[in-house]
Point group: C2
Chain length 397, copies 2
């Protein structure tokens, strides 16, 4: 049983801030600075090139992947770290399409994160004749899976609304139609217990800088189900995924297992920060995390709905359909969020009208929820958002 009052003390949180944006960029684990400094000074600085062996750098993509595996219900050695989520989406898509030829349809939904759709569009353009990305509404995904679909590309939790798909049901439907599945876990990994193996997922990928607290630009991960690992051919066939990278053959030959999804040299400084975070995550009871998360989102929904009648809930009320964030819609959402942020409650805005708040039990508790509700209520009741400086868009929102 995880003591969530105690875990808060493991993160650095600036004084006076209520941070409800851990679903976008997780806060700094207190040990991360020292861990990164050790990697920079004692490893890079002192070991130099020998760090690849002595400090275990070369094995990090798989050893760290095994720590992610527990959080997402994946089998040992089925998760490889590296690159960005967009790249990992591309890898999974390219392999799945090849495995499921001659089918040529990728099915996704309009609630998917745009970069997943963009990567699919780019791959279809490269593949040419007949390859197509079909985008349906989120609620239509289950029914839209038919025998033309090669692979579904679904983000489990909608980045705007927090609506959670039923991974087991969609995966079962896909398999019944002969389709493969790719699950984007950007808003799932570290948000609640994910059960990839139990659901029978084929591929998955995710990032680590949100709920998993690895810092800005932390590495992504890719999951390949054990039954597919030796037949999934990497399209991005880089030397780190070669069976014998230091033989320097001129012909590519994939490594056994999920390790073939490695591409280039791994980002060792970013991985060090992630490892510091995983020192916390290793001991988190994921079921307890889910219970705490649902308690916080329930509390926030009830509080805001009572105090702010002009905000419209965008997040499902049913627990089984909810991730670990709560979103409200308002036409002036951007300005409202800037006013809330100016009062030290940090959420974010997603176009066109979404106010988004992430609930992360490791460092957010009931008192933070109360404070956030009170701030939002004050901003709305007194039209505090209606000022020019809150309406000027920043580059990153």
């Amino acid at each position: 049983m995880t003591d969530f009052a105690a875990t808060k003390d493991l993160f650095h949180l600036p004084e006076g801030i209520v941070y409800l944006d851990g679903n976008s960029l997780g806060p700094l684990p207190k040990t991360a600075a020292a861990r990164v400094a050790k990697t920079v000074e004692a490893e890079w600085g002192q070991m130099l090139i020998a760090g690849w062996n002595k400090a275990g750098w070369m094995d990090k993509p798989m050893s760290v992947g095994n720590r992610i595996a527990r959080l997402i219900g994946a089998e040992a050695n089925s998760v490889a770290m590296g690159d960005t989520l967009s790249i990992k989406v591309y890898q999974a898509l390219a392999s799945a399409l090849e495995m499921n030829a001659p089918r040529k349809v990728i099915l996704s939904d309009s609630g998917n994160f745009p970069s997943d759709l963009y990567m699919a569009q780019g791959l279809c353009r490269t593949l040419g004749a007949g390859y197509d990305l079909k985008i349906v509404a989120p609620e239509q995904v289950h029914d839209a899976i038919d025998e033309t679909v090669a692979v579904t590309l679904i983000t489990e939790v909608d980045y705007r609304t927090g609506r959670k798909h039923d991974m087991a049901a969609i995966t079962a439907k896909a398999h019944s139609m002969g389709a493969l599945t790719i699950w984007d876990l950007a808003h799932s990994a570290g948000a609640f217990p994910v059960e990839l193996a139990k659901a029978g997922a084929d591929f998955a990928c995710g990032c680590t800088y949100k709920y998993l607290n690895s810092g800005p630009g932390g590495p992504a991960f890719i999951y390949v189900a054990p039954r597919h690992q030796d037949r999934a051919q990497p399209a991005l066939s880089g030397w780190q995924g070669h069976d014998a990278p230091f033989d320097f053959d001129i012909t590519y030959r994939p490594a056994p297992g999920a390790e073939r999804m490695r591409v280039g040299t791994p980002p060792i400084l970013q991985l060090a920060a992630l490892e510091a975070s995983l020192d916390i995550w290793d001991s988190v009871d994921m079921n307890a995390l889910r219970r705490a998360s649902l308690g916080l989102t329930d509390q926030f929904i009830a509080g805001v709905e009572a105090a702010c009648p002009t905000l419209t809930l965008a997040t499902p009320r049913d627990h089984k359909d909810r991730g670990s964030q709560v979103s409200f819609r308002h036409p002036e959402g951007y300005a409202i969020m800037q006013a809330v942020i100016a009062r030290s409650v940090i959420g974010d805005f997603r176009a066109p009208d979404i106010l988004r708040f992430g609930f992360t039990p490791l460092f957010v508790g009931a008192s933070e929820v109360d404070a956030a509700v009170a701030t939002l209520a004050d901003v709305m009741a007194n039209d505090l958002w209606d000022r020019p400086e809150y309406k000027t868009r920043k580059k990153v929102t």
Copy 2:
């Protein structure tokens, strides 16, 4: 004029080591630890999500790219940072093939780094019908460029021998045949002045963890010539290369210029280390660097040839054909290199028989060359390499 006696003091080098492997992993700039710590603690820790605006994280791929540009003779705003070199090779190849349709041949050489060839093989497999990677010997590249070649994929400096291609001549030949060029600058950027714009190069890419001292897994870069920037279509079409990433459109629309070659969230900690290194590189006179480098490699060649008659020079004697490393061949190269490393002279081994030594004037001078020659001479003259512990292969060599 750069004072290379003074620059040595800007790097952390372990006591007693002669480091001739800066062509594989450059040493730690003394300011990098503090720079990374600032990014971790004062930016990630204090600014949290606001760091993307306040700390300029979102702009780093292009602002840092402009600092790389000077070192490689590139125009302003033509270099984008991110991902790994293998990914950047794939991006350049995919765009070039599309621009030069209906040609389907990629021409490379057997001295190219294997990962470049692997990525090309993967892309050809994805593209299918008729796409082909043609690999010739390095000395045959110029003559092998004919009107069937869509694009040449050439690493300017051979990672094993240090042999340097004539970028201007090959680029001119390619253009005369209607082919495009991609230059891999892994062993060029920071090794000598590169003149991409002057040579008329079409695309280039490179890594930063070798001569450019960005640390293990530092980000790669891609160059797109200004004349191609708005017609090069990204195959890896990620949201960071979208014209308006925070509009969250569901359809990809590339950003203007080279920025479209960005893919996912940039690795901010690795970029911070690179920026510390660029604080040094910004003031380096690249022509003076080249003069110093040639002096060091000449000195090393002369010393080793005089002292070690059983080692065979693999690096060209002619300055115009030489990068910034010197390689010798020997059937027992692996064991010899381990014996040399055990005596604190750090070079590396490349299969099947190459002893490789990198010369990096920023922190290597004539006295280090003398020490390395003396150590290698001692190892060879007294067969000090002929011990079982030097013959056991490590994972990373």
